[in-house]
């Protein structure tokens, strides 16, 4: 394929607030093919959710400045009118939110909420929409779908609500599905069920999925490619194997070092990243990670604080860091040895 299914180029999302301009996303680019899953990892405030709200055009236009290019199947979304976006949302692209209870209306039955999207986009009758809702509930593994379709959200458990959300997002067979921390509020055993479900549905329909999470473990399970975000920018990109096994950015390295594993040593302290995430109102100059980076001294001339490192691609993977590949190999090697026990 010459042009990718979804292509984001130099995306900027800036919010004007009372205190100044918040640069939530500041120059982000990525591509996504059909049938693939892109995992976006980052901490709170790194811009992962904002990016995806921008793709769906969900920001309040009064205080949001959107810049750059978002091409979905050749269609430009940044300049699209609200009417054009309405045609696409829920139909060609849709989203699963983190908090399923807050995202469902308590006053309408599950069936009505799933059917609403379908009726809006296909113009079918209420009866057909209901049948479609039952079919969707069956597909996402809700027992007795023909009975449960008339239930209200409060009658569903947490895992079932998330399944209902997935049913709602998939009702029009979208080609792009954005899942914003869909499993964060769930218990691990239910999380595993939901991830299996998403994988199965993706295989069946060839949906492109953007999976946003802060959990690298979830990424390892579900993603094909990984994009690591920090302070509104992409700091590292690659296949999940590349990023998790041989991270090329000190931030990714730090994230992996912060997580205890189920079979690692227990008596050594974790190696956390010092400090806390930057304020996007007044972000650090140069590399946004430099105030927390352990390797700042390794780069000559204080370039980390003065010059923004470019996201350079080498063999399809990229890391925005001033360290040379040789330095990284040397400095990161202890870590790599510990990871491949």
């Amino acid at each position: 394929m010459s042009t990718p299914f979804l292509s984001v180029r130099d995306l900027k999302v800036h919010f004007s607030t009372e205190d100044g301009v918040v640069k939530a996303v500041d120059g982000l680019s990525f591509d996504l093919e059909k049938g693939k899953t892109l995992g976006i990892v980052g901490e709170s405030g790194s811009g992962k959710s904002v990016t995806n709200m921008a793709i769906l055009g969900l920001h309040d236009p009064r205080n949001t400045a959107l810049d750059g290019e978002i091409l979905l199947d050749g269609k430009e979304l940044v300049t699209a009118t609200e009417k054009e976006l309405e045609q696409l949302r829920g139909n060609k692209m849709s989203m699963i939110f983190q908090d399923a209870l807050a995202s469902l209306s308590p006053y309408h039955t599950i069936g009505a909420q799933i059917g609403e999207t379908y009726r809006k986009h296909t113009g079918c009758s209420k009866k057909e929409a209901r049948e479609r809702a039952v079919e969707m509930l069956r597909r996402v593994g809700i027992p007795q779908p023909d009975v449960r379709v008339d239930d209200y959200p409060h009658q569903f458990s947490g895992g079932m609500r998330q399944r209902a959300m997935i049913a709602m997002a998939l009702v029009c067979d979208p080609e792009l599905l954005i899942a914003d921390e869909p499993t964060t509020a769930l218990d691990v055993t239910v999380q595993a069920q939901i991830m299996d479900l998403l994988k199965d549905l993706q295989q069946e329909f060839g949906t492109a999925i953007i999976f946003i999470t802060h959990d690298l473990g979830v990424i390892a399970d579900i993603a094909d490619d990984v994009l690591v975000m920090y302070g509104g920018r992409c700091v590292e990109r690659g296949t999940k194997k590349e990023v998790l096994q041989t991270p090329q950015h000190p931030y990714t390295l730090g994230l992996l070092g912060s997580m205890p594993s189920l079979d690692g040593p227990v008596d050594v302290p974790l190696s956390p990243i010092p400090g806390s995430p930057p304020s996007l109102l007044n972000p650090p100059s140069g590399c946004r990670f430099h105030p927390r980076c352990a390797f700042v001294d390794q780069v000559a001339g204080g370039r980390c604080s003065s010059e923004r490192p470019a996201l350079e691609f080498v063999d399809g993977r990229a890391a925005a860091c001033h360290l040379t590949p040789e330095q990284k190999r040397e400095l990161f090697s202890d870590y790599a040895a510990a990871r491949t026990h």
């Binding site: 901490e43 709170s44 593994g141 027992p143 007795q144 458990s157 947490g158 895992g159 079932m160 218990d187 691990v188 055993t189 239910v190 999380q191 595993a192 069920q193 991830m195 299996d196 479900l197 199965d200 802060h214 959990d215 690298l216 473990g217 979830v218 990424i219 390892a220 399970d221 999940k240 194997k241 998790l244 096994q245 730090g254 994230l255 992996l256 070092g257 912060s258 997580m259 205890p260 594993s261 189920l262 079979d263 227990v266 302290p269 974790l270 190696s271 956390p272 990243i273 010092p274 806390s276 995430p277 990871r339």
Partner: protein, 347 residues
């Protein structure tokens, strides 16, 4: 823990929350069996982890130990003294020795008080005047938890989530407690900050010899922090053991399933064994008869429905490893079948 009395001894601990209903006179129509017959001990300086899914009763257990809740039945002994139903006056000296760290660093600090006031609060209440004054002690505590002592006069909103949690830790340390109940102390924090707080708690536990009851749902963090781990399911402990035994040789099917469901940030050449449980945790208002896990267990038989398995040392377990199962797993148990995607009709 053979001859010496443990710091905390809990036996048969039960908490049922009554459900009121009916009109015009409200009566008790049922009970949420949040915690049902727990037995465990915590030795001085030891960290016991409590893990389980939401609704399994781990937080209720924490609140019962700290006596923020009144137990329905059972017995809590602290340093040989029965505190199950102790009154306010009897509890006062003990309360200063058992402290709590809460999950939400935003809700657990008073926004109108300065950090100094928050941390010295426990000393004020207990009328403790440390040498050199309370302010000096607070500055010391701030230093211990890695905050700048100069921040004495700041308010909570001036701190980030991780820093707030450090303030919570300093407050818990103010009275030099012997036992800290930490209820999901890091789950509201970002990954990089989580590790900072876990390291801090570990340092505190080692250097000050404080015993911990560490409540969390993240199995990897519990393994990292606690020497002994208890797995809870629907108000009961299904397995308790040293961490090496629990994670290396899980005997209860639920423990095994839970461990296999944890996503790990490694890319394996050979995929790990994964056990997929179907359905959700049943309601604690009307828990299944016999073994409470049987509705989701792939090994369940009629015996599981009629007879609740006792928490005992089953054959093949090392000392101190207790499992509540009629058909415990063994290392060479055939891997559990990958269960079908469709959860059977709601049981």
């Amino acid at each position: 823990m053979s001859s010496t009395t443990p710091l905390l001894d809990v036996s048969g601990l039960t908490k049922h929350f009554p459900i009121k209903g009916g009109f015009p006179i409200k009566r008790t129509v049922g009970a949420v069996q949040a915690v049902d017959g727990l037995d465990f001990q915590v030795a001085a300086g030891e960290s016991l982890g409590l893990v389980g899914e939401s609704g399994c009763g781990k937080s209720t257990t924490g609140r019962l130990i700290t006596r923020l809740l009144e137990p329905t039945s059972g017995k809590i002994t602290y340093q040989g003294q029965d505190i199950t139903h102790a009154g306010r006056r009897d509890l006062a000296p003990i309360r200063s020795e058992i402290q709590m760290i809460f999950q939400d660093p935003y809700a657990s600090l008073n926004p109108r008080q300065t950090v100094g006031k928050i941390i010295s609060g426990p000393m004020e209440i207990n009328d403790i005047n440390p040498e050199g004054g309370r302010e000096k002690r607070v500055r010391e505590l701030l230093e211990i938890v890695g905050l700048n002592p100069e921040h004495y006069n700041r308010f909570p909103h001036e701190f980030s989530g991780g820093q707030r949690q450090r303030i919570g830790v300093a407050r818990a340390l103010a009275l030099e407690p012997k036992l800290i109940v930490a209820d999901e102390p890091v789950s509201a924090l970002d990954v990089s900050i989580q590790a900072q707080v876990v390291n801090l708690l570990q340092k505190v536990q080692r250097e000050l010899g404080i015993a911990f009851v560490f409540i969390a749902h993240d199995l990897a963090i519990v393994r990292h922090f606690s020497q002994r781990v208890a797995v809870m399911y629907l108000g009961k402990i299904v397995e308790i053991a040293d961490r090496e035994d629990l994670y290396g040789n899980p005997r209860h099917p639920y423990t095994r399933a839970l461990l296999s469901a944890v996503p790990e940030a490694t890319v394996e050449e050979e995929p790990r064994e994964r056990i997929r449980l179907t359905g959700d945790v049943p309601s604690p208002i009307n828990p299944p008869s016999g073994c409470r896990f049987r509705t989701r267990c792939w090994k369940a038989t009629e015996k599981c429905a009629s007879e609740a398995p006792p928490l005992v040392r089953v054959e093949g377990n090392r000392d101190g490893h207790l499992t509540a199962c009629h058909y415990p797993e063994t290392a060479d148990t055939v891997p559990a079948p990958r269960l079908s995607k469709d959860p059977e009709a709601a049981a």
